[in-house]
């Protein structure tokens, strides 16, 4: 129940799928269906559920309503989460308006930026000066921050956030942030993702060339 982070990511995917199925009018689902849409084996779906003490009905599958409710419980998604955006540059502002967040009980309550030109305390999501960051976190008991600062400022500002009591940071800077155990860092490294894709492509291209040795060359 504690260890498996892959299982948690799959649980999140199951939940997404279930919501779609529900909106299509389904009320129950089998491990087979979920496995298909998420792209894993039915065994694994059942294993994941059993890992988190989720049970269904022999022969009757799972009731979608129950399942979603239980998943929300496990995943800590039964209350709206307040999140701050640290850095209001291009990426930060883009994420501030990200649709999917609103739909999922995730609410960005304020943003912080050093640049005065970007500050606007009256905006729907106020953009405040960096000075106020520490106080805001502490006063409003903010647990979660999204960090979209450039590499050179990232660690310094992260330290401030941690000092103020933040519990988790979703980090978009390419830096591997250091943090004490009470604050969890998850990083999304966009450059790395793209480079990974480049690797995968270059590998399939090699494979194709290799397999053409046998089959002769087709005209282009």
């Amino acid at each position: 129940m504690i260890g498996n982070e892959n299982a948690v990511m799959r649980l999140l995917q199951y939940k997404d799928t279930l919501k779609k199925l529900k909106s299509l009018g389904f009320s129950k689902v089998f491990s087979d269906n979920l496995a298909d849409t998420v792209g894993v084996s039915p065994s694994l779906v059942r294993k994941d559920f059993s890992l988190f003490d989720i049970s269904g009905h022999k022969r009757g599958g799972y009731r979608i309503d129950n399942l979603v409710e239980r998943l929300d419980q496990i995943l800590g998604r039964n209350v709206t989460q307040k999140v701050i955006m640290v850095g209001a540059g291009k990426l930060g502002s883009a994420l501030m308006n990200f649709r999917a967040f609103e739909e999922e009980h995730i609410r960005i309550v304020a943003a912080f930026d050093h640049d005065e030109a970007k500050q606007d305390a009256k905006a729907k999501i106020p953009v405040l000066p960096m000075d106020g960051l520490r106080g805001y976190i502490a006063e409003n008991q903010i647990q979660l921050g999204i960090l979209t600062l450039p590499e050179d400022a990232a660690q310094r500002v992260a330290d401030i956030m941690i000092l103020a009591g933040i519990r988790g940071i979703l980090n978009f800077s390419p830096l591997q942030l250091r943090a004490p155990r009470r604050c969890i860092i998850r990083s999304v490294n966009l450059e790395l993702e793209l480079e990974h894709l480049i690797y995968l492509i270059s590998r399939t291209l090699e494979d194709e060339e290799a397999s053409e040795e046998d089959s002769g060359r087709k005209d282009d």
Copy 2:
């Protein structure tokens, strides 16, 4: 050499670290150093290298220059990659100006959007109408696209890209895109990442409460 995608991600991280070390004036490195900065075991570093036929010097470690060169080779990063941006909304435009891409031989050559207000053929990175997407990919032999469209348009446009001969798509829509084997899809699901973080936080909070049963409660 073929299977392990985790190893590939680590290779990319090693490369990043090596560049930083190099800019700090280092010319050689030991598996220990790399392990430390990336946060893995030295064994694993050596194992990863051996997996890709990278060798160093007994007792002398690895020469950073050689290593970076070899990694670029393996990772397909020895040529500049042309990439198109499909969708020029907030997220798309943010990524178009993403610093880290420029530094890594990744060049975004054009963007496409349905919205006329966003189109601008004269911009540094031209924003073109969606009609031109298929032709542009075919004529310029574009291999890579970044997809930042909303869910409802994502699959339809991805199909067009695939038809035109694209080889890889970095997908930011929350949809699990379907594609034939010749096109590789990698997805970044920002909502999922944030929800994962929420789960991790809610779990550590529970743990703390649990451990307070023993130790008594500290005042807040």
